[in-house]
């Protein structure tokens, strides 16, 4: 997508020359961290606040060497930790395309569903309805 040839993941290809995803300098497994959320993003609309706390369980993330490349395409960094390390990315020209380094599912409870997941299902619902109305229109046209 960014035209990075041979982009690899250190977990599955540790000796590859171009490690887009590399081992984090400090493992985030089992840690909690503050994230600054960029305004005018799906994440910000979902949270309704600029700084949130999330739980992480990962050892890999975006290689800092590619930090400046990541914003060159349609992918935008919409959440970063207090040191600027990438934690949330989104596609700008897409109805809802959000990826997080943390696991929103882990902090979700029946009484407090995760706001990003609620926003995700709202997008799914809109998509379902728009698809259905397009199908109906298609049928009418055929008649």
């Amino acid at each position: 997508m960014l035209g990075i040839q041979g982009a690899e993941h250190e977990e599955s290809s540790p000796t590859a020359p171009t490690l887009l995803i590399s081992k984090l300098s400090c493992s985030l497994a089992g840690k909690t961290q503050s994230i600054r959320v960029v305004t005018d993003s799906h994440a910000h609309r979902a949270y309704g606040q600029k700084e949130v706390i999330e739980q992480f369980y990962c050892n890999y993330g975006l290689n800092p060497a590619f930090r400046n490349d990541i914003n060159k395409g349609q992918l935008k960094v919409t959440g970063a930790d207090l040191d600027g390390e990438v934690r949330i990315v989104e596609l700008s020209d897409h109805p809802f395309y959000v990826a997080t380094l943390f696991l929103p599912q882990v902090s979700s409870t029946p009484g407090s569903p995760h706001p990003i997941l609620v926003a995700y299902l709202k997008a799914a619902r809109s998509f379902q309805v728009s698809r259905k109305s397009n199908e109906t229109r298609g049928t009418v046209c055929k008649i």
Binding site: P95, F96, T100, P104, Q105, V106, L117, V118, Q128, K132
Partner: protein, 105 residues
């Protein structure tokens, strides 16, 4: 007008189908949490939801569009390395290029 509104509301309450890209393991806490969190969010929207895990190897055999099109949203679940990284990447590409609502965690 009244009729249209009722029809719209009934459409809004249709069951959502979510396809989870990943190799489900019932012993993995994060996989169980993925299913449960979807139910929490669906309940908050007063809707019902059916989640299906999509083994990554099944996504690498060329029939990916047939598998993914019935879903209203796709989720790339935790648990790398996947059995088929190629299958997982193809499904993520489908969501990106075809405009399917997507989350990766």
């Amino acid at each position: 007008m009244m009729f249209n509104r009722i029809e719209e509301e009934s459409e809004m309450n249709q069951q959502l189908k979510v396809g989870i890209i990943g190799d489900y393991d019932p012993n993995l806490r994060f996989h169980i949490a993925t299913n449960e969190s979807l139910n929490h969010a669906a309940a908050a929207l007063s809707g019902s939801l059916e989640a299906s895990w999509l083994p990554t190897e099944s996504l690498a055999d060329g029939s990916i569009e047939t598998i993914l099109r019935p879903f209203d949203a796709l989720w790339c679940g935790p648990g790398s390395p996947y059995k088929s990284m190629d299958g997982a990447l193809q499904a993520i590409r489908f969501a990106r290029e075809q405009g399917w609502p997507f989350i990766g965690t």
